[in-house]
Amino acid sequence: MRQGLGEFEQFVLLALVRLGSDAYGATVRRKIQTCAGRQVGISAVYTTLERLEEKGFVRSRIGEPTPQRGGRRRRHFELRPLGARALKEAYRAFSGMTTGLEAQLKALR
């Protein structure tokens, strides 16, 4: 079954692509904030990641504890093929709709 991606889900997946092996709640949140300019909560990121994991788009593994986190462990995420395909599809649809409109979109108020 094909599933579409919500906007925030796209953000999260794109952040995973950008971060590569360094993707976990805090870095994903930071990426979305710096790139998309959106204020989001860490727990919202996790809620979304969990949903994506259920759909089979991402997978996670538990990392080692580090002292700057008070000895707590990290949960790292990475993109799975299914997620990559969905992201590509979303990008294709979006760019298909926007091709040739760049100037017009910029001019919109």
């Binding site: 976990y24 909560g41 727990s43 996790y46 504890p65 002292p67 700057q68 986190r69 000895g71």
Partner: protein, 905 residues
């Protein structure tokens, strides 16, 4: 603030994601602090907490939201239901509104504080994965030989080290077994030694708990291979932060524990501070170093019980099954290894010993006597604050009833314009709930103050108490409940407004309907009863405290100064320790301001005790084998604390290692064990069945040396100079000078012997003794605080009802006075009302106070729970307060002018 927000975020996160979300938040906070400054980081954290809270409340209170939505759409409520509108009452009757808000705030706040304590100290499991699979191992039954316990549990919980290893090997259905024991040590780092707590742990300790190092590594089975081996030390996270400022470079550095060298290999995870509640360990070291570091205890001796044991159930295993699986191996060890060591047991006692079992208790909360000790007083406190809340609710109901009568005109107009009854009830109820909600908010502040009070009472030992985030929810739920409970009857009652009568303005005269009047009277009666229920036990506690303070200890602390010395913590061996303590004593004696000096290995009146079982010449033991408290003391001890010697001699410096062993016993000892009166020259020995190698050379008078409330028990004293394991000692000095001058002189005198030997706990013996009743002082203070709060609220309620009823009965009183009633009669009318309520309330309250007295029975000293004097005192106090509350309205009633009262009609 920062910590609270972090905790809030962790709390609001789903349990499964808590670890990473909390970790991410902490990490992000550090990142922001480093890149954009502390202020920006704080702002972000606040925003994050707010986002999380909205999310969490959205999820957790979805049920409530559905309810609220249903209520909004409920027929008849309409705009009347808007809380904003309801809060107009604040403007229209500010006095009533303020009284309602204050009552709810006091009642709810006190409860939220206690709830918070429960949450923090009794309900929260250890911060380890799957805490509910942890089990504490216990073996009920008396232990022979040497038993030493600490805050982790009583004597049923301690095992010898060899027995622990047996259990470790024989464990089925347990994925691991671990042992631990805390001790007070000196911790040296780069030339500076600081006292602190070390936890000696077996290799399984951290693996069984399922913990990962915050930094470096934790201890494992590789670290506890053989006695005397193992030099790795793991710092607790807090100690790492506190003493080493969280520097990673401490890994690999040397650490001295009682001058024994260790290497720091890691840091325990944040939030983990051992398995003993409220323990604050500095460092974890292998249990194989126990004997080496402490110079007492034994890793080999099966008659030396000191080690606490816990384990982790395999997934799916039950405690019962795991306990049963341990049993065969344990029974075999008992029969074959342990039983032959138990000398001199009768057959019956031996059978009891061999049928001893292992019991596994739920270990999710770690091992701690604190939970057991704290639960009953906290429950009693919860009961007390619950009663205070009930009184507050009664006040609120009373005030709202009065307001309802005041509103009757307005309500009648609305009713005549077609407002349904349900709509009127809803409006009044929403008003009550809105006021209660405000009270709940203020209640949070009250809860904070209440916790401040708890922390300030040292006897409670609740130093770390903090308001828990969960208390916020509790507070709002309680306020909501209080609003509905207190608002329902007044709302229904006020909505009954008789349209015609109200519009004609006659309803003001009756003081409300008869049912409402009776209800208000009943409320006040109940308030008085509840107040007495709290005052009774408060009286009992304070009378018991007075008796405790007046008890004859059998010694005289006036003018005595005491301090501790820990030569073994400074690397002295037993013989040198005896030397050093002896030299300090000599120096003190030589001081012109000092009259006499004594030494005791265990400080007197510290609540703890060292007990031994003994063999006594001529005493034919029944199964109850002779046991006595023991202490090691020096020459001059009895003289210094003024315990009279009844016969024989005091110890002398000549009673040293190598000299014939001697002892002094007290009168209770002599009588209990059949040595009276010819005790001198009798022989005893420590432990059962050995050679009677100790001669009794002195007989001391009885004194209460453990706690002032203890009944006299047998005591034995041995010379500290004959202690082959001498480690630490307390010194007692009686001065010709003032104690203040003596306290100033002591450090210098000790420094003359060894300038590196710290003087610990230097104070007067008097203040030391006062400390022993600190818990009782705290209990009495708290009980009186809550009883006073309850009584004040009840007095306010009484005053309100009377003042209101006098105002309502103005016309009746006017008529009576016009017909010739004098002031005394009118006053009698009002005070009669007071007396009826006070008598009824007092009678019910007396019965309830008697029942409540039983709850505090266990802490009473020299009093029965039904002590008539206490109950009388409480009743008299309440009667006095009721009289004062009634006098003002009574005087107002006397001043009613018949003419004007009648004209007002």
């Amino acid at each position: 603030m920062k910590r609270l927000l972090l905790r809030l975020i962790a709390w609001a996160a789903p349990a499964a994601d808590r670890e990473w979300i909390a970790g991410d938040t902490l990490e992000e906070l550090g990142h922001l602090e480093a890149t954009r400054g502390a202020a920006a980081a704080r702002r972000w954290l606040r925003g994050e907490a707010w986002r999380v809270l909205r999310l969490a409340i959205g999820c957790r209170l979805r049920g409530l939201a559905v309810l609220a939505a249903g209520l909004r759409r409920a027929p008849g409520l309409g705009p009347e239901g808007s809380p904003r509108r309801a809060l107009r009452v604040l403007r229209s009757s500010p006095a009533i509104a303020a009284a309602v808000v204050a009552s709810v705030a006091l009642g709810v706040g006190a409860n939220a504080a206690i709830y918070s304590l429960f949450d923090q100290f009794l309900w929260r499991p250890l911060p380890v994965p799957e805490p509910h699979r942890l089990v504490n191992v216990r073996s009920p039954g008396e232990r022979r030989g040497s038993v030493s316990t600490d805050e982790a549990g009583g004597s049923d919980f301690v095992f010898s080290h060899p027995l622990f290893r047996d259990i470790e090997r024989g464990a089925h259905l347990l994925s691991g077994v671990a042992g631990h024991r805390a001790a007070f040590v000196n911790i040296g780092f780069q030339g500076e030694a600081v006292p602190g707590t070390a936890v000696f742990v077996s290799g399984g300790y951290f693996p069984v708990l399922g913990l990962h190092a915050g930094h470096g590594r934790l201890l494992s089975s590789a670290d506890d291979r053989a006695a005397g081996a193992g030099s790795a030390a793991v710092l607790s996270f807090r100690y790492w932060q506190r003493r080493f400022e969280g520097r990673r470079s401490v890994l690999g550095e040397a650490l001295l524990v009682n001058k024994q060298p260790f290497t720091i290999v890691g840091v325990a995870p944040e939030g983990f501070s051992g398995t003993t509640m409220r323990g604050d360990p500095a460092v974890f070291v292998p249990i194989t170093m126990y004997e080496t570091v402490l110079r007492y205890g034994s890793l080999e001796d099966r008659l030396n019980h000191w080690l606490y044991v816990f384990g982790r159930l395999e997934p799916g295993a039950t405690r019962e099954a795991a306990g049963a699986a341990l049993e065969p191996a344990y029974q075999a060890i008992l029969r074959e290894v342990e039983a032959p060591l138990q000398h001199g047991l009768s057959d019956e006692a031996m059978a009891a010993f061999e049928s001893r079992r292992l019991v596994l208790d739920d270990g999710a909360w770690g091992q701690s006597t604190f939970r057991e000790r704290a639960r009953p007083p906290l429950l009693v406190l919860f009961g007390a604050t619950g009663l205070v809340l009930l009184i507050a609710c009664a006040n609120v109901a009373n005030l709202l009833l009065a307001r309802g009568v005041g509103l009757s005109g307005e309500l009648a107009v609305r009713a005549s314009l077609g407002a349904s009854r349900g709509r009127l009830v809803a409006r009044l109820l929403v008003e009550a709930v809105a006021l209660a909600g405000l009270g709940g908010l203020l209640g949070l502040a009250v809860a904070r103050w209440t916790l401040d009070l708890f922390r300030a009472l040292p006897g409670l030992r609740l130093e770390g108490a903090e308001l828990q985030p969960s208390a916020f929810l509790f507070c709002s739920a309680l306020a909501l409940g209080a609003g509905i409970l207190a608002g329902l009857f007044p709302a229904v009652e006020a909505s009954r407004a008789d349209v015609v009568a109200a519009l004609r303005g006659v309803s003001r005269q009756g003081g409300g309907r008869a049912a409402a009047r009776r209800f208000r009277g009943a409320l006040v009666t109940a308030q008085l009863a509840v107040s007495l229920t709290l005052l009774g036990p408060a009286m009992l506690l304070s009378r018991s405290l007075a008796k405790l303070d007046a008890v004859d200890l059998g010694l005289s602390p006036d003018g005595v100064v005491t301090f501790g010395l820990g030569p073994s913590r400074n690397g002295y061996g037993p013989k040198e320790a005896i030397e050093v303590v002896g030299r300090v004593v000599d120096e003190l004696r030589a001081h012109p301001g000092v009259e006499s000096v004594g030494v005791a290995q265990f400080p007197v009146l510290s609540g703890g005790a060292w007990t031994n079982n003994l063999s006594i010449e001529g005493f034919e033991g029944t199964d109850e084998e002779p046991r006595a408290a023991a202490n090691r003391i020096g020459a001059g001890f009895f003289e210094t604390v003024r315990i009279p010697l009844r016969a024989g001699r005091d110890f002398t410096p000549g009673d040293s290692l190598g000299a014939p062993k001697v002892a002094i016993v007290d009168e209770t000892f002599a009588r209990r064990f059949g040595l009276w009166p010819d005790v001198l020259g009798s022989r005893i020995s420590l432990g059962a069945g050995g050679e009677l190698d100790i001669e009794i050379v002195g007989l001391a008078a009885d004194a209460r040396l453990q706690r002032p409330r203890d009944v006299p028990s047998p005591h034995t004293f041995f010379p500290y100079r004959q202690d082959a394991n001498m480690g630490n000692a307390y010194v007692y000095a009686r001065g010709r000078l003032s104690t203040a001058a003596l306290i100033r002189a002591v450090p210098e005198i000790v420094a003359r012997v060894d300038s590196n030997l710290p003087v610990e706990n230097l104070r007067t013996l008097d203040s030391w003794i006062r400390e022993t009743t600190r818990a009782e002082h705290a209990a009495a203070t708290l009980a009186f605080s809550f009883a006073a709060l309850a009584t004040t609220l009840a007095a306010l309620g009484l005053y309100g009802v009377l003042a209101y009823s006098v105002a309502q009965r103005r016309r009746e009183i006017g008529v009576r006075m016009a017909l010739g009633a004098d002031a005394a009669r009118v006053r009698g009318l009002v005070l009669g009302q007071v007396a009826r309520m006070a008598l009824a309330g007092g009678a019910i309250g007396c019965a309830a106070a008697l029942a409540a007295g039983r709850l505090v029975e266990s802490v009473l000293f020299g009093l029965r729970p039904h002590d008539p004097l206490s109950l009388l005192g409480a009743a008299a106090l309440l009667g006095g307060v009721a009289l004062i509350a009634g006098l003002v309205p009574a005087r107002r009633a006397c001043r009613v002018e018949p003419a004007s009262a009648l004209r007002a009609e």
